[in-house]
Subunit: 210 residues, 2 copies
Amino acid sequence: MDTASPKTRTRIQKQKRELILEAALEVFSQHGFRGSTIDQIAEAAGMSKPNLLYYFRSKEDIHHTLIQRLLDTWLAPLRELDDVGDPLTELRGYIRRKLEMARDFPRESRLFANDILQGAPRAMPMLEDELKTLVDEKAEVILGWMKAGRIARTDPRHLIFSIWATTQHYADFDVQVRAVLGPGRDGEGRFEDAARFLEQLFMDGLKPKG
Amino acid sequence: MDTASPKTRTRIQKQKRELILEAALEVFSQHGFRGSTIDQIAEAAGMSKPNLLYYFRSKEDIHHTLIQRLLDTWLAPLRELDDVGDPLTELRGYIRRKLEMARDFPRESRLFANDILQGAPRAMPMLEDELKTLVDEKAEVILGWMKAGRIARTDPRHLIFSIWATTQHYADFDVQVRAVLGPGRDGEGRFEDAARFLEQLFMDGLKPKG
DNA sequence: GCCATTTTTGACCGATTGGACAAACGTTAG
DNA sequence: CTAACGTTTGTCCAATCGGTCAAAAATGGC
């Protein structure tokens, strides 16, 4: 058979590929590309290494498929940022959705972070294409709000960076956050604390009321 | 001789060790621990692999020495945060110093980020000890400012996280920032844009004036 | 039940890796 | 000059890695 042509894939092949991708996400997000071995992924997927290589041509192939497939999910919150609607409400919503993604999909966040940290050897084409296009489009929307005096005037792209940075921080640097905060509040409590803080930061900053 | 006992190290040994650590910082920060090889570090340091292993017992030893030594530098900006002095000025200063570190020492930032992303297998002891202690101390200072009504009331620890996240983002995700912004503004211009944006964000937030 | 196709596996391979080691080299004090 | 010590290197090793391959096992259509 030919696992390379998506047309002819049986239901079993699709299932196994999904199983492998799920296992690979777990392993890659924890150890990075070079730090992960095919054996680890195979074991996590409950199959032998040659068996895994029957469904994917190579380790590179798995990683590429994974990162390609997850990009849409990852960019979805920004896509929802809507031109119509109240600007502050839209941005608050974006921040919250992004924070929810960091809470619900930390592995996906770390998968991208691992690659980008090392110079994006695998994600670069998508950064320059889909990501840049989307950011350009949304930066224009935000700029429109600023020009209309509906939000403060700043650099829209750096605003987007700061939203990415602050939200993804809770996924990418989770162990550090945990080490600093101690065992006091659990996952859900921490999430609410972060949400409250970020809302206040992005809305009003640090200056005292008055 | 015995490179393990710091007491008996000659000047040449110290020099060579510095040379190796500099090379190792370059390599580790680009490829992570597992992605780096002793050969790469040795070549970057201009010596042979066995020669390098004459000065450091193992790859792990190099990484450990590096991360241990760099922690103080990395935490210095936060240490400077001073109880006396105007709170908003202090925080603005901290943000700027941290952003300067991201600009001037991106390799150090990536070295830590690489480790923490993968569960901090090597940095964890320091996170729980020195880092937590320092954050606890400074969080108390910030909390004092809040209680005195001199800055807005929020969670001081999440405030520190957000400063780390937004500033280090420019070091850790440099390639992504570059891909999104395009080749327009160079390093120094980008830095000034980021500084201006972050100052405004942390001071006033996004609400329009009025 | 039988055959063709798909799936799974054990055995294997070449390349790379971290590290050991002894021999060679350089330097310097006496 | 030379013995002692610090430094450097070529060679080697065992382990691990990504990936191949042929044969075995399971599956499904007839």
